[in-house]
Subunit: 494 residues, 3 copies
């Protein structure tokens, strides 16, 4: 740990060199933040400058209250008193709610924590944090880890095999392999193992020794017990709405082959026009004016943003529960089904008592899913956004087709499941682990890759080539024929 | 149907709110368009503002005739009288040629149609419409639907399978599954089933009930009998040349694995530089000055655009028959062959009387394909564009290599076809449907995915990694070995 | 060959038309370059205008010496005398070192060569050329062609198969197929076959007849014996640092499935933010100021560029040996190993005397690889760049995870190799060519595609979905199970 004297010397050096600097730092910072900046502009300049170009660095929270509510980026009913007169700097986030963070430590005389969490952001953005907590993203870690079936899938995917003649023998997954795969997006559990010494440009310092860090998965379990990482989408240290409105942000996780929202968007007319026109959009304006600020939607426009016409009539309410305008759940599971009531989907039980929203044959769970009435009202909310550009007839034609596709893909997955059951019956595979043998791999790909892709392409206004040959009908049907061959070949042997 | 009184009230409300609006709408619109705008700026603001930022919204067609012919974006010999003094607004397109559109209906007192077609665009752009009609794109629906073999492929790809022990039984494709797959790009047949009532913000209104709508496939068959959708590339409601000149527009259909023009372009030096430099290009200028307006070609530059040097010397003539500078056809079929004379390729017959430009062994059809002389003159036209940046030696080296690749891929497809025939002979697959069994899937992938990709990569100046491991030589050769194993394994059994 | 009279006439015509031109050409060109420009602005306008917008066209090399050394783009200790007073034009590059280029020829009275090489660029950029020559890129041709095992792989991948009942018979690869695949990126050997006549807009002229041209592979062997093509990254004829700093440039070769650096970057938080923010970056500034000129790294920032803070403190030294900050080699080979000391990796020998850095079981070569001390100092160099934005703890957490992943993927490849050996033993495949049979294809994919992808995703700060389902753990483990089935099925037969 540095002594105050060493710290003072470093500060003096930093101050001296600052005079020579060309980069403009904000003046209205708290004293604590000023201290952070003096050293860190030298030791981690990239994040200091990134922040220095952000809205946080130049705006006092109370300034939002001089403007109409619809234009505000903060949802607190009044300005946070502790920040009054100051912009939002390093210490405002890293120095908050000291007692609640297990990774709080003394750093150069200041009590700070490493991992800033939704509980910290909540000071200015309580509505967003509360909405987010309801949704599937905040629960993304638990939805895998607390679901026995999905945990088995994670362990199988991120595990391995060793050759012990005459067989391969399964090797369990490690924390690292799970962290680099499923929990990379779903979020890790970040815990404090104690303190550790690290070498820095200022010499050796002591910092919390964090397990499963770094990670910015959407359902990260933080050292203060909160869930989620706002930085999944509002990347540090700019924390901007511009970043989050770009589809590339969502694309970090929503990717082929298992959740190809980005790939399908990219191949749709919406995505095609986004690529062409994005430089002309106003990415910054709040609320977001359809046709003026943007002429084709990004993920945010349809699913999250406050979208208005140029007279501020609201077409879509902002929501940080990103499923709020969705009625049918089309991915991540074999069969489509009504959206769950709670984002904690691991609590669902199908009629076979499995932790799934449907049975292996597609029957929906008796409880915990949206009622037809709730589904209808969600569809109305989405339609209102579509209607910003498309007439009702267009929208109805689109959704009628989608309804057929949803049913057709469920039927094809039923065929795949029948083949797998037949294979289990005939000894082609062993049902103990439904994810670890060639026939089961084919089964999983029918729904997790192909049926999902077809449904996405349908829902998101069309990506025909994707749904045909890339990861769609061609692939799903071929896989069914491969499964038949595997099941039948075994039968022939006997 | 709304009464005139309700309509008047809506208009009044719209006019009142317009005063509060920040968005600038053009003034020189027809009375009919003004009426459209008053309501639709409120009900579908996105498309109104999109149009309001377009060239159509601010330019009277006659203005084109004050400028040199080479800079014109319209090809009519003189300004259309009906539009004189007015910009091109809603009613100019949706209100044209009323008698010819099966989807014409009375909407708030105006006789309009939903689906604007090439016949409407023809008023100002007759040369483009005529060129387009000659090409393969305008005929893209018929080229599948009127070709018995390709229809069988469509039905197989977009169909499904049901497990009826001891076999999978084929399920026929539905209109919806064909629409979301092959006909998504090729175009659907949009027909009028009658009238239907839809709920809108103005209450219930009656509109045509359109089948297979929405769709903007390149060969869409419209309610007026015309073929094509100009909006495939000039997306509504901006209808810009800028959109169409971007490769992302073409990429919506020309995608891996079956027609990977975009993917190959992306991985070529041309595409790599496009990604880096696109923000500096002048996407708007007509004609398009090579080296000044753009420093690397997009799809449009090589295949469609009017490309000139900075003294307006023409390097490439504009054409909306996008095959006009092509001599050899390299995709969509097992073997390469001279480009067809007519875009209606379903009329071709090979020497085995199949509706294909070559036999299953690669022999070209006796009629309907370009003569060697016509091929040579097309190559000259393309070379002239290449020569804008590359010297003759470079170009000849490039095309000599391409000629070898074309022959080599045809040879590899011949091997695949020999294996499939052998498999048919040995009972590994049944030739009745050449697209529905595992051995046949492998055969199709050898040409539709891999040989095509290799040819594209060669033609489009190189995408080496793509042509090696992504979807190329590695994949094609591995597939041949898989086919051999399937054919041989069966032989061993007997 | 044109007579001087014809040439003079062409020049006069060119001069006359130049007056009508709107494009501004630089004035401070040599007389020779002026002559080039007069004709070529007419005959290959694209490259003339591309150059005319470049730094070369407007900057005299001596101007660099009026500025601080850290801002210089040229590394010669003093300005090249021959270029004094002139910008760098056509003749400065194509007319250099006449005697050393086998493709030097007389062109309109000037002695020039077609293929500009690193030896030419060396006049102003000697440090870059020297660094480049040390690395793997300059040796990329030899590293395949002089390595018996990799040559066999190239020949197998780019070769083919012919069906001669009852077997497929291997067909050797051609120069063209190797050129369009592996040597497309690795570089071809460009040789002069003699002279040839080509038809140009100026009539027939005689030029060198170049074999394996065009190509801009990184290890191209040039007609002057030098290795490399600076245009791989600094594309002709702009030759800019802006192009090279964009990830798209690297992405032309570093692509999935075998070397998915681009794909993994694209799916990482770094790549996601690059896509969002690239328009705001200063791509031009030298040195490159972290946090100000760019807020997320591109390939160049971590691996090549001179990166500084805003007081010009150096975080990363510029290097054109792109492995200079790397300690462990993670791709292109079955097992990870310490980076080689020399870029000429074909000279390595493993303990089984194969031309590989490790044995088939992963044991590293006794000589020619970095020592642990050298590895440690490279890691320090990379860490210093990471530290520009991330604290030590973050960086250590990241690299600790990476270390585990490196070990785990090596273990999985060992399993794959054990299965292949078992298959060889049981007669499932023949070890003579380890790359040409289905079991061997699976083996190669375990390391060249999947283990590589997992390692890349880990090294480059995370691309979880890519490393899970796209080309990662899921795929690697499934492939192991397929190999087991192939090996076991054969065993069952006997």
């Amino acid at each position: 740990m540095k002594t105050p004297l060493v710290l003072a010397a470093a500060l003096a050096a930093a101050l001296a060199s600052a005079e020579a600097s060309g980069l403009d730092l904000p003046k209205n910072v708290s004293d604590e933040t000023a201290a952070c900046l003096e050293c860190h502009r030298q030791y981690t300049p990239g994040i200091v400058y990134d922040w220095a170009q952000s809205r946080h660095a130049w705006t006092k929270p109370e300034a939002a209250f001089d403007k109409p509510a619809i234009t505000r980026r903060i949802s607190a009913p009044k300005p946070p008193e502790a920040f009054r007169g100051k912009v939002v700097g390093c210490f405002e986030c890293h120095g908050q709610k000291t007692g609640t963070h297990a990774d709080t430590f003394d750093h150069m005389g200041f009590s700070i924590h490493v991992v800033v969490t939704p509980k910290d952001c909540e000071t200015c953005h309580p509505v967003e944090v509360s909405q987010y907590a309801q949704g599937k993203k905040a629960n993304a870690y638990d939805n895998l880890a607390q679901n026995a079936l999905f945990s088995q899938l994670v362990d199988t995917v991120a595990g391995g095999w060793e050759w012990k003649d005459p067989h391969l023998v399964a090797v369990r997954s490690t924390p690292e392999s799970r962290w680099e795969t499923c929990y990379g997006c779903h979020g890790t559990v970040v815990t404090v193992r104690g303190m550790t010494k690290v070498q820095t440009a200022m010499g050796e310092i002591e910092v919390p020794d964090l397990a499963n860090w770094p990670n910015q998965g959407v359902g990260r379990v933080n050292p203060d017990g909160s869930k989620g990482a706002c930085t999944s989408c509002h990347a540090r240290h700019g924390f901007s709405i511009e970043d989050a409105r770009h589809p590339h942000t969502c694309s970090q996780c929503h990717l082929e082959p298992d959740s190809p929202a980005w790939n399908v968007y990219r191949d749709s007319k919406h995505g095609n026009l986004y690529e062409v026109r994005e430089a002309e959009f106003d990415w910054e304006n709040v609320p977001w004016v359809i046709g003026r600020d943007f002429t084709v939607p990004t993920c945010a426009a349809c699913h999250m943003s406050l979208v208005v016409d140029d007279k501020n009539t609201v077409l879509g309410q902002r929501s940080h529960d990103f499923g709020a305008r969705l009625w049918v759940r089309i991915f991540g599971l074999p069969y489509t089904h009504p959206q769950p009531l709670s984002g904690a989907t691991h609590t669902l039980r199908n009629t076979d008592s499995q932790p799934l929203p449907t049975t292996f044959d597609g029957a929906p769970a008796a409880q915990g899913l949206l009622s037809p009435e709730d589904q209808a009202s969600r569809k109305v909310a989405m339609t209102k956004v579509c209607n910003g550009c498309h007439n009702r007839q267009w929208i109805e034609g689109h959704f009628r087709r989608f309804d057929v596709t949803v049913k057709e893909t469920d039927t094809l997955v039923r065929t795949a499941t029948a083949l797998m059951r037949e294979g289990w019956k005939r000894g082609v595979a062993d049902p103990k682990n439904p994810f670890d043998e060639p026939l089961e791999h084919l089964w999983l790909e029918t729904w997790l890759f192909y049926a999902n892709s077809i449904r996405y392409a349908s829902a998101m206004t069309g990506a025909p080539d994707y749904a045909t040959f890339k990861n769609g009908w061609w692939n799903l049907n071929n896989t069914l024929k491969k499964m038949e061959a595997a099941v039948t070949r075994e039968a022939e042997k006997r």
